[in-house]
Amino acid sequence: MKKLYIMLLAVVTAFSFTACSDDDKPGGQSIFPTEPTTKYDKFEQWLLENFTYPYNIEVLYRMKDVEIDHSYTLTPADSAKCAKLAIIVKYLWFDAYAEVAGSDFVKQNVPRTLQFIGSLAVNNNGTVVMGTAEGGYKITLYNVNNLDATSGAYAVPLSNYQALNDWYFTTLHHEFQHILNQKKPYPTSFDFISEGEYKSGDWYQYSTESYALPHGFIRNYAMAEPREDYAELYSQYLTNNDDLWAQKMAYAGPEGRAIIEEKVAHIRNYMRDNWNIDLDQLRHAVQRRASEYLSLDYENLN
């Protein structure tokens, strides 16, 4: 009886082996195109030579739906505006870091992708997103189509350095600081400087001039949480010229100013100890370039 069962089992097992011997060959053609299909136009060639080759960065100026934030309604960027923005970003931002920290630092630490979006990203509470960074690999700039516009609430005239900062450069420095912080966290002692004063999501209900500055925050958004405070102060310190900085310190008053300077000192140490960057040297380079960028050629790609 036992044998019978074993034989039965053997038969069943044997049959089960033959059952699947159909055509399980590996598929024929690759699903990816094997012929190179990309044709670069003049601007794309310029991006390759000025961003990708020297800094290992892709500038995503054509909208790619897998890269955008679908919780917003967005429009693509105008390619002519992208060219202008790329010229300025290279001069005021990438080249400034390369000048002070060396091109290897830039290659190793800047995000891999810089994305340009034409429209604003508008939140339901009426606030607008000025830029985002994702996991250190991508920084997105919005409102690119208003670059070089002369009128409108969100216009960013080329000659208006402050508007350029508000829309693009504070974002770039701010998000870049996040990336640096992710690679090497700043000492938590910073978080205690303004402990208990952070407003999280309600930050936009406070005025920068009458509330944030006197309380030791460079901008109302810095009151969201310590790491935003850190990144925002860093970017404002680098981009504000001496006059603007002095104006803000006047609003801050002696108490606010003392707190802000304590925070700047903290950042100065962090940048020196972790990244071997002299914060004031970097600020000087940024400011010098700010006084020169208008003489660049924006009509031709060189």
């Binding site: 009886m1 036992k2 069962y5 074993i6 039965l8 089992l9 069943v12 097992t13 049959f15 089960s16 059952a19 699947c20 159909d22 598929g27 024929g28 053609q29 699903i31 195109p33 044709k39 136009d41 100026y61 054509r62 909208m63 790619k64 739906d65 917003y72 309604t73 967005l74 429009t75 693509p76 960027a77 105008d78 390619s79 505006k81 992208c82 034409g118 429209s119 604003l120 990203a121 508008v122 939140n123 339901n124 009426g126 189509n145 969100y154």
Partner: protein, 439 residues
């Protein structure tokens, strides 16, 4: 022990059965990836093949809420050049804007306009001027799934990826400029004939055009009036609805207009018919109640029934005694005062004129029925209403009447019979009548 064997065999059998589930025969000859690659390549080839480009009947808003407009597009070397109907420069030349496009593969081939082009993307900007939403602009798409390419490759059906509207792209046989100029003429024809009647096997409907959508009135089994609205765009030979509609079992995707241009350049409209069925013509409304508005209808005392006559005579008498005036005429029709045209019951007493304006509700279900309602007093109508009983002369008209003409094609006389009061009969004539009290 026996049980264990049994279970083992059962288990083995069970596994055996499962193991072949993945061995289905392929339904398609090519893999999914190969097919989508082929679809993308094909779609791109078709787009580029149109020398004159394409016209896109473009719609914005969830469920086509914000209407449509025409864009023309020419595709070449990864660049698209766009035109928008009506967007011309100071020299009357069409403006063109160039940007990039690409095909991606997600929900089938997707045509993405991936850099900014003002003609297309301005609608999708969250901060678009006058946009109806707070954060979504005009709810306008710029990435489209290619749903279908017609056999003859002359039409492409697209579907907006974010807001889901289906739109039609048509291959142009003439230049975009020429197409838009023709479409402008078509638009003026539909503007002039803003109401069109549909008649088929005793069924009737009326198409009313407000410039961006048609409101279509039709009747159910019990002659109740139903309405549907359908947004449309103009083409070079008619209008194209955003989606085909169903009317009395007939599918209608648009209306064609026949336009003839004479040697001297005069343009005349010779008829309208359904795009889907040329034998089904649409005509200007010609219900008795529609004909009514084309004439001025004069009052004569002898033509009035007892109800209207009493009021009219009271008015005439008061004018004679109070104002020492003779009533020169009274009619129902168009009255002009200070360059404004009114429709109503007008009179002249001595050298003074006035008008009680009248709202006309022509009954769509019963074409022989018409209702008049009083609106406002214009010019001297106020004086004569307050002092000379003009209100009593006009009151009998403000009812619902059955209409009867002596001759439908060229009427000279109409008989209005109050549907609620057979005593109230009013006969009016197109012939001008002076001193109506004596006629």
């Amino acid at each position: 022990m026996k049980k264990i064997f049994l279970y083992t065999i059962m288990a083995v059998v069970a596994f055996t059965m499962q193991s072949c589930l993945h061995d289905n025969d392929d339904v398609f000859e090519q893999s999914a990836a190969e097919r989508i690659d082929a679809a993308v390549t094909n779609a791109e080839e078709v787009l580029v093949s149109a020398q004159n480009g394409w016209v896109l009947h473009y719609y914005a808003g969830q469920e086509y809420a914000y209407g449509g407009l025409n864009l023309a597009m020419k595709f070449k070397d990864g660049k698209v050049t766009m035109y928008q109907q009506g967007a011309i420069d100071n020299n009357d030349n069409y403006i063109t804007l160039t940007s990039t496009y690409k095909f991606t593969r997600d929900q089938g081939p997707v045509l993405a306009f991936d850099t900014y082009n003002d003609f297309l993307h301005s609608w999708g900007d969250p901060m678009a001027a006058n946009a109806p939403t707070d954060v979504d602009g005009w709810e306008a798409d710029y990435e489209f799934v290619v749903m279908n390419i017609s056999e003859d490759q002359n039409t492409i059906t697209l579907k907006g990826k974010k807001f889901g509207n289906k739109m039609l792209m048509e291959r142009l046989n003439v230049s975009p400029e020429e197409y838009f100029n023709e479409a402008d003429v078509v638009a003026s024809a539909f503007d002039y004939y803003s109401k069109l009647n549909y008649r088929k096997d005793g069924k009737k409907a009326r198409f009313m055009n407000d410039g961006s959508e048609f409101t279509i009135q039709y009747l159910d089994e019990e002659d109740n009036i139903l309405e549907m609205t359908v947004p449309f765009t103009y083409t070079n030979n008619g209008v194209l609805f955003n989606q085909p509609i169903e009317l009395y079992g007939q599918t209608i995707s648009g209306i064609q207009v026949n336009i003839e241009t004479a040697e001297d350049g005069t343009i005349s409209v010779t008829g309208f018919q359904l795009k889907d069925d040329a034998s089904q013509v649409l005509t200007e409304p010609n219900d008795p109640n529609e004909i009514f508005a084309k004439y001025n209808w004069y009052v004569a005392a002898s033509n009035l029934g007892t109800v209207a006559k009493a009021g009219f005579e009271k008015f005439v008498e008061s004018c004679a005694t109070n104002e020492k005036e003779v009533v020169e005429y009274m009619y129902l029709g168009t009255y002009t005062y200070r360059n404004t045209k009114y429709y109503g019951l007008a009179f002249k007493s001595g050298r003074y004129t006035g008008c009680t304006t009248v709202g006309v509700d022509a009954d769509f279900a019963d074409g022989n029925k018409i209702t008049f309602t009083p609106d406002e007093l214009v010019s001297n109508a106020t004086w004569y209403t307050n002092n000379d009983f003009y209100g009593e002369a006009t009151d009998p008209y403000f009812n619902t009447f059955n209409i009867e003409y002596d001759n439908d094609a060229a009427p000279t006389k109409v008989t209005l019979t109050d549907v609620n009061n057979p005593e109230n009969v009013i006969i009016l004539t197109t012939e001008e009548i002076t001193t109506p009290a004596e006629k």
